[in-house]
Amino acid sequence: MATRSKLSGTAALEDIEGVGPQAFLASIVECSDDAIYGKTLDGAILSWNRGAERIYGYSAAEMVGRPVSVLVPPNKPDEVPAILERVKRGERVSHFETTRVRKDGEVIDLSLNVSPIRDASGQIIGASTTARDITEQKKMREALAERAKEILDVSTPVLQVWEGVVVAPFIGTLDTQRAQQFMERLLDKIVQTNSAVALLDVTGVPAIDTRTAQHLIETITSVRLLGAQAILTGVRPAIAQTLAHLGINLADVVTRSSLAAGLRVALDILNLKIITQEDQAKGAHSL
């Protein structure tokens, strides 16, 4: 009954004892962990494998004949019609991540692959969907993203080194996302610690591109608007050159060649002075 010539790779299956090629392929579908189901071009379910029973919680008897929209969460009414439209045009939908609702009401994350089913004459008569449960995968992905964010926070730290002074040592380049997050963290820290000075140290930055330079200047300007003094320390010749080429006038920005020098300016602003114990001793004598 199977049109063997249409089913590729079935020649070898004829050799398997007691199992016809069509039955063998059918059992592959049945035993798959993924949900595999066929539907008409109107979305009515025609077949429903064991994987689908497990993933969605509905038995085959419950689903065959029913519209697939039963599984779709109420906030996505246009999704299935949109998918079927594409299938009707002969397109495949691959790795489409979305959510569906199980029989018990639980919402799950799935990756869908939908392909057209054609009859002997090549006409599209339905759609075949394979759905993989990616809930675990998604959780792992989100955990990884959280971890990556934590690493970002650690690698562009904002540290309070004294009452009223925060230091932000830059290491490497800042892409846009990292830069935005950094700016927010820096300003929040300044407000939180009621700091008067923020030292932006670029000693660890050998060269910067236009985008990073722009972020740097924006950071300095934002700190000023907030009400603190930004001091740029450790500017290497290569960076000074880049900034000059960009038309940025460093005369508007307070800069120092080293973090230590910047700290001295900070203390000065705060009306603080570092006195060595020697000085103190001398001072006591002169009194």
């Binding site: 935005q180 700016m183 927010e184 300003l187 929040d188 300044i190 407000v191 009621n194 700091s195 008067a196 924006e218 300007t221 934002s222 700190v223 000023r224 608007l225 907030l226 009400g227 603190a228 003094q229 508007d252 307070v254 602003i269």
Partner: protein, 125 residues
């Protein structure tokens, strides 16, 4: 004397004006009028503009602030913007609103200190 949503008080010989969260254009314009009136009446050494409640600072608001600041300077005073929120500072910077000609301070407290003992480094060039 005070507008419904702007608060204006005289503190330590300065004017302390507190802006509401999302002032409409009329309120922003009123700010300027009220400040000028108070400058005339009290001749304070400066204006502290408390924007710690402000969530959005657009170009109209910024323009009004810098204009007002210019007028305050002409009348012998200094303007300090106090309490700008981080999100507002970042957005204003990216929009290109630099508020040249005004001082800024983290808090109203600091702003009042600034006007009493001005520090040369704090001015935005």
């Amino acid at each position: 004397m005070t507008n419904q949503n702007i608060s204006l008080v005289k503190v330590r010989n300065t004017l302390l004006v507190t802006m509401p969260a999302d002032p409409d254009d009329v309120t922003v314009t009123t700010l300027q009028e009220e400040v000028l009136g108070a400058m005339e009446e009290y001749r304070p050494k400066g204006l502290v503009l408390d924007i710690s409640a402000v969530e959005t600072l657009d170009s109209f608001f910024a323009r009004t602030i810098t204009e007002t600041s210019r007028m305050v300077t002409m009348m012998g005073g200094q303007t300090v913007i106090a309490g700008m929120r981080p999100s507002v500072a970042i957005t204003a910077t990216q929009l290109g609103l630099t508020m040249v000609g005004t001082f800024t301070a983290l808090t109203v407290d600091r702003a009042l200190d600034l006007l009493t003992h001005p520090h040369p480094r704090r001015r935005i060039r």
